[in-house]
């Protein structure tokens, strides 16, 4: 068995969390019944790895088989690494009726034309997502399986999610995707995060939406903190308003887990009390980065608790609205990368 195949298997077993090892191997289904019974999952990982390596020799598995296992493991546990979202633009007429087999053939052939040695594996998941694993090589070397790129695409939507892509590989992948999905261009959706399910839910609006109502309905907050009944009575109305506006802006219930949002501000400094700065022609350049374990939760809580004034400013509410977390804000109308006007106050 190849040395690189051994290394790949060793790394893979190391990455899989111990409790997930048994179900993943069973899902893979390449072990014979006898081999499956001989695996003792109560041992530590190192002897298990050795056992698997010997089974690998027995069954004569190649890199192809190991990459199958890797794909299963990544599909089950996609929230590692940094995912970036892209959007396909300008579909042709037949883009919406694209079929899976057609897409698979086209993608593989286009990519192989662009890159000499490349190994592509495509798999359709149960929830309509197409997972693509790409191991890149070049004219002189074989595909490097230790640093694969993963691509997730939902057919008939225009969104593509990519992880582990270098800047050299980006134009090649973009070209192959655009041609095989029958669109004309692909652009950066300015959304990135660790949690694939979160950014997918955000872009496809698959979380609880709250719509403005004419009759203010009492939205219950989950954890009621005990406090003075007089204060509660007085604050009940404003609090309900704030909560409603916060949920309209960001959503209700559980929100997708985004980790950060970056705003590059290039607007002028406007302050009535400071004439010198207001008369200045150049913009006041700064970069603001919001970070949290669950950014949308934090922002919603800051709006409902009054730390952020309601109605929520369009800069913050456009994170879920437009599904982006990187913005460039300038004073003029929509620039090439920005689609926002700063709130003038």
């Amino acid at each position: 068995m190849d040395d690189s195949t051994r290394r790949l298997l060793q790394r893979l077993i190391r990455r899989i969390p111990a409790p997930m090892l048994k179900p993943t191997l069973e899902k893979w289904g390449r072990l014979t019944v006898a081999q499956r019974q001989s695996m003792d999952y109560t041992q530590r990982k190192w002897p298990l790895t050795e056992k698997l390596l010997s089974i690998c020799e027995e069954n004569e598995w190649t890199t192809k088989h190991i990459t199958e296992l890797e794909m299963i493991c990544v599909i089950d546990n996609p929230n590692q690494g940094m995912w970036r979202a892209f959007q396909l633009m300008d579909p042709e007429d037949d883009a919406h009726s694209l079929e899976l087999t057609q897409f698979k053939e086209q993608f593989k052939s286009h990519l192989s034309e662009l890159v000499r040695h490349v190994s592509v594996k495509i798999k359709k998941h149960t929830d309509e997502a197409v997972w693509i694993r790409i191991a890149w090589g070049d004219g002189f070397s074989r595909p490097n399986h230790l640093k694969p790129t993963y691509v997730v695409h939902h057919l008939q939507t225009s969104f593509v999610f990519v992880t582990s892509l270098t800047s050299k590989q980006k134009p090649l992948l973009s070209q192959a995707l655009v041609l095989s999905t029958r669109h004309h261009a692909i652009k950066d959706a300015n959304l990135s995060g660790r949690n694939l399910t979160a950014i997918r839910d955000l872009l496809m609006r698959q979380y609880e939406q709250v719509f403005p109502t004419k009759y203010s309905s009492p939205l219950e907050e989950k954890n009621q903190t005990p406090s003075n009944p007089h204060i509660e009575r007085e604050q009940a109305g404003p609090f309900a308003n704030r909560l409603q506006m916060a949920c309209e802006a960001f959503g209700g219930g559980t929100l997708p887990q985004l980790q950060s949002a970056v705003y590059k501000l290039e607007t002028k400094f406007r302050d009535q009390t400071n004439r010198n700065m207001t008369e200045r022609e150049e913009p006041f350049r700064c970069v603001v980065k919001f970070e949290s374990t669950n950014l949308l939760e934090s922002l919603r809580h800051s709006a409902s608790s009054g730390i952020a004034s309601t109605p929520v400013t369009p800069l913050l509410s456009s994170i879920p609205l437009k599904g982006r977390n990187y913005f460039v804000i300038t004073d003029n109308g929509p620039g090439p990368a920005s689609q926002m006007h700063p709130s003038q106050k």
């Binding site: 705003y263 501000l265 607007t267 400094f269 406007r270 302050d271 400071n274 010198n276 700065m277 200045r280 150049e282 006041f284 350049r285 700064c286 970069v287 603001v288 980065k289 919001f290 970070e291 949290s292 374990t293 669950n294 950014l295 939760e297 934090s298 922002l299 809580h301 800051s302 608790s305 730390i307 952020a308 004034s309 929520v312 400013t313 800069l315 913050l316 804000i329 700063p342 709130s343 003038q344 106050k345």
Partner: protein, 383 residues
Amino acid sequence: MGKRDVQICFRFPSGTLEMEPPPNGVVRTPLNSVVVQRRSKSKSYRLSYRSCLGAASRLGFTPALTARRLNTSRRAPRSRNISEKVNSEQLALLLKTEWRLSYVTPLFKFRHTQLKSYSRQLSAFIAAEKQQGLAVDVEGSQSGFRVSFSVVQGMTETDDDAETVLIQIHTNPLFARQDEPQRSVWSGLLTCINGNTDYLHSLPKDFICLPLFGCSGSEVLTTLVKSWFQQAFDCSFGPLEISHTSLQWLVALWTNCHSESGIQQLKMIWTLPVVPPLQITYTVNPQDAWELWSSVRRDPQEENEGGEAGTSIDIKEVMRFVQGLKGHFYRHFRLDLSSGSLKQVSTALGSAKYNGRIKISNSRYMITTLTLLTECALLKMPI
């Protein structure tokens, strides 16, 4: 520690209250006012302040000296070519380390001439503690440490400042070859820069005041060094946080230096008390920050006085500057940063964190930063 008479004298300024601010900017609280509102809510600040009020009222003296507050104005930092005066090796150590800060009460009978003896005593102490089994896993070296105390000359500003002391602990392997470099595993710093002269004069004869203590290295060694100091010089240590007022001072002081040596960026980190906690990193272009700062300083009243405006910075200017930055943020995000707390300030000149960590990256403005930190440490003195 044996019997010893301690006499603490308070100096009372004779005469009436002065209404115009004295030249060095320290505002004396009137004799019959008691409470200075502190905005920082951390427990250690409250404890030390309460204990100082309690002690003073028990003694029956009005706390003229102990009711101190942070200076409301200070000299604008000038670029100081300190590398001419200070040994370059020591300076390199000072600049590359991120120091964890504590305050120290005045040291009894600490002599700068006895440093060699202190080095030996501290090595012996560490070795003895290891044998007792109290010190667990000190860097794995079997054979002890070599401690060196050294004086950093050239850093004092006034005649009352004691000379800065640098402490280093190196590993001392038993079978070291001649050319094997000794690894430094722990460094410590004791310093007092521009200390409050009234306070320093009020100390009894045998006490040396080096209120600012910085350390970098393993916690085990830090605890050992602190306990040795406590035994040898009857002092006590306590954690030193850099309050948000001091952090705002650093925002202004460091931005002020941009015209002489570029700060590359002004980065502030705020945290908001929401669930889950939100961290906001606000990075401003240095040139724009500097222009905002100078627009805030250009007060027509000061310009009429002439000359003085450039050399001293008042707390009001600092507040206006930070308010300007917060206002710009509010106009975009409708989020008031005052509801959160400022946790970290970084520029090319250094970085300061709320939990008492400081890193000074540029020697030219080191004295200004250390002056501010010495003041913070002196404010935490329990008596």
